[in-house]
């Protein structure tokens, strides 16, 4: 069992069983979907993605409430946080948060965790209490997108001026 399979098994534990079975039956279809479109629509769960094409071994789509549980599992498996990115899907009225994890290992396993929140109420729990390195990345995402990381110890502007009242990476932001 290699690292990718181990991590996949560990992560699948937090998704409910019936959902997991559905995922397995539609696995092939889901993988095709990942290659064809941004697949923000696909069901929550863990799927393997071709590393040569997407640069990530596992793609996890989860509910915003599950990001902390996933961070705990990945932290226990010696992953480190590469970055947190926001994506503004203006047409779908959603903001997506993309977490990238990797390991200091020759048996590579990169994990992408994605969660979407409505644009009108962009709130997601913070993972900075589990992974202190997430602190600045979350502040940056708040800075650019206005996503509120609930429970963050110091959610203030980091790169923009402290008195800025706009979120520049939103697609409808006009300077």
């Amino acid at each position: 069992m290699n690292r990718v399979e181990q991590t996949k098994a560990a992560l699948e534990a937090i998704f409910p069983v019936e959902e997991q079975e559905q995922n397995e039956s539609t696995q092939v279809a889901a993988e095709e979907a990942v290659e064809n479109e941004p697949s923000i629509e696909r069901q929550t769960g863990v799927i393997t993605t071709p590393f040569e094409k997407h640069g990530s071994h596992l793609d996890v789509l989860c509910e915003p409430s599950q990001v902390v549980d996933i961070a705990v599992i990945l932290d226990e498996n010696d992953f480190f946080l590469e970055s947190i990115a926001g994506v503004d899907w203006l047409k779908k009225e959603q903001l997506e948060i993309v977490y990238d994890y990797a390991r200091y290992d020759h048996d590579q396993c990169r994990v992408t965790v994605r969660a979407s929140v409505p644009r009108s109420k962009p709130v997601v729990p913070t993972i900075s209490l589990v992974i202190p390195g997430a602190n600045w990345h979350e502040r940056e995402t708040f800075d650019f997108y206005g996503i509120i990381f609930e429970g963050h110890p110091d959610l203030t502007r980091i790169l923009l001026p402290e008195d800025a009242d706009f979120f520049p990476l939103l697609k409808d932001y006009m300077p």
Partner: protein, 372 residues
């Protein structure tokens, strides 16, 4: 009448280090809460050279972002070129000719040496030694001249293209590079190691200072020489081979001491490894084209793409989200020193101010890359 000032023993005061301070190498501000000469709390304040490159990426076609990549890490600009080219090639499914990949590796490694030389010079300048700067800049000048010859610029390169490089290398470049390898190898033991590395003043300043444990590195996502100085064997070139690195034989220097000296030694050893890579790449350099046929307007398939490369400071990631259009829908840059600096506050607590400056120098910060 003036009242006598009584300082209570537990009283602290706030000291601003920067944004205009020579030891912060640019415009980084650190808000220090001091108890005498000791740091109680250190809070880096970022954003003084923030230019919002990520928004600029979204408003222009893929190719137009290439010059911007060099303006982030101006010391290792070619690695940023390379990382961006790789992620777009991955998304658009572009094959790169082998010769172009070899040329990319040669130029990126030359640039890495130039970056380490400048770090070395500036670090020792922070510690009060002026002479090393003159030696390092002398050698760096040779690298810059070589790169200028083929890329056309001296610092902010825009040399890579999707599917290749902009310009082929010539015989004069190859001879010049071989001469440079000989020159740096002959100067390294005497001028660099005898004069500085074994110097007791340097050792007293940086040995056992700035202790970062491997666990702290992992918690904060530190990579590059900072992680390798803490005993973590992680180098994207080895762990997640890209380009033609798997075909080249080189070692990843790792030191277990976790202090500033270990990080210093990692970088010094890396220069020799880069020379080895360049030497082999020049020997193996195949003939052929340096640019693949690529459509003028790229429209990669919609999807999520990630690509990592190793810069002089650590793992640089590009997170690209495409919606199938001609502009990147989202391009997030994971700059290595952003994560490396985030552990500064925790490590600097309880340190002497003078030691914290030596520690900060050993992190090899490039501020425009943190602020993007």
């Amino acid at each position: 009448m003036t009242l006598p000032v009584e300082l209570r023993h537990d009283e602290t005061f706030v000291l601003n280090l920067g944004p205009q301070h020579p030891a912060t190498h640019g415009v980084l501000r650190v808000k220090l809460t001091m108890d005498g000469e000791y740091i109680v709390k250190a809070e880096p304040v970022l954003g003084y050279v923030h230019r919002m490159h990520e928004k600029l990426a979204e408003v222009a076609p893929y190719a137009q972002f290439m010059p911007n990549t060099a303006r982030m890490d101006y010391l290792h600009a070619l690695a940023f070129n390379h990382g961006y080219a790789l992620v777009v090639e991955k998304a658009a499914g572009i094959e790169v000719p082998e010769r172009a990949e070899y040329i990319r590796v040669i130029t990126v490694e030359l640039n890495r040496i130039a970056s380490h030389l400048l770090w070395w010079a500036a670090f020792l300048l922070d510690l009060g030694g002026f002479t090393p700067l003159l030696y390092a800049f002398d050698d760096r000048e040779h690298v810059i001249d070589l790169l200028e010859r083929i890329t056309g610029s001296r610092l902010t390169y825009c040399y890579m293209r999707f599917g290749g490089v902009y310009n082929d290398i010539d015989d004069e470049f190859i001879t010049g590079t071989r001469d440079f390898i000989k020159r740096l190898r002959s100067r390294m033991p005497s001028l660099y190691h005898d004069l500085v590395t074994h110097n007791i003043i340097l050792i007293k300043r940086i040995k056992d200072i700035g202790f970062i444990s491997a666990e702290q590195c992992r918690k904060y996502g530190a990579t590059g020489p900072v992680a390798r100085g803490s005993g973590i064997d992680y180098d994207v070139r080895k762990n997640e081979p890209f380009s033609v690195y798997p075909e080249l034989d080189f070692d990843v220097p790792v030191y277990d001491e976790c202090d500033s000296m270990a990080r210093y030694m990692v970088r010094m050893d890396e220069m020799e490894q880069s020379l080895r890579i360049i030497e082999q790449a020049l020997d193996k350099l195949p003939d052929g084209p340096v640019q693949a046929k690529v459509p003028k307007i790229l429209k990669p398939e919609a999807g999520y793409y990630y690509s990592a490369v190793e810069t002089a400071r650590g793992s640089l990631g590009h997170r690209l989200v495409s919606d199938g259009g001609k502009n990147p829908y989202k391009l997030k840059l994971r700059s290595p020193t952003f994560s490396n600096l985030s552990l500064f506050g925790e490590v600097a607590e309880g340190m002497l101010l003078a030691d914290a400056l030596a520690f900060m120098g050993s992190l090899d910060l490039v501020i425009p890359e943190i602020d993007r």
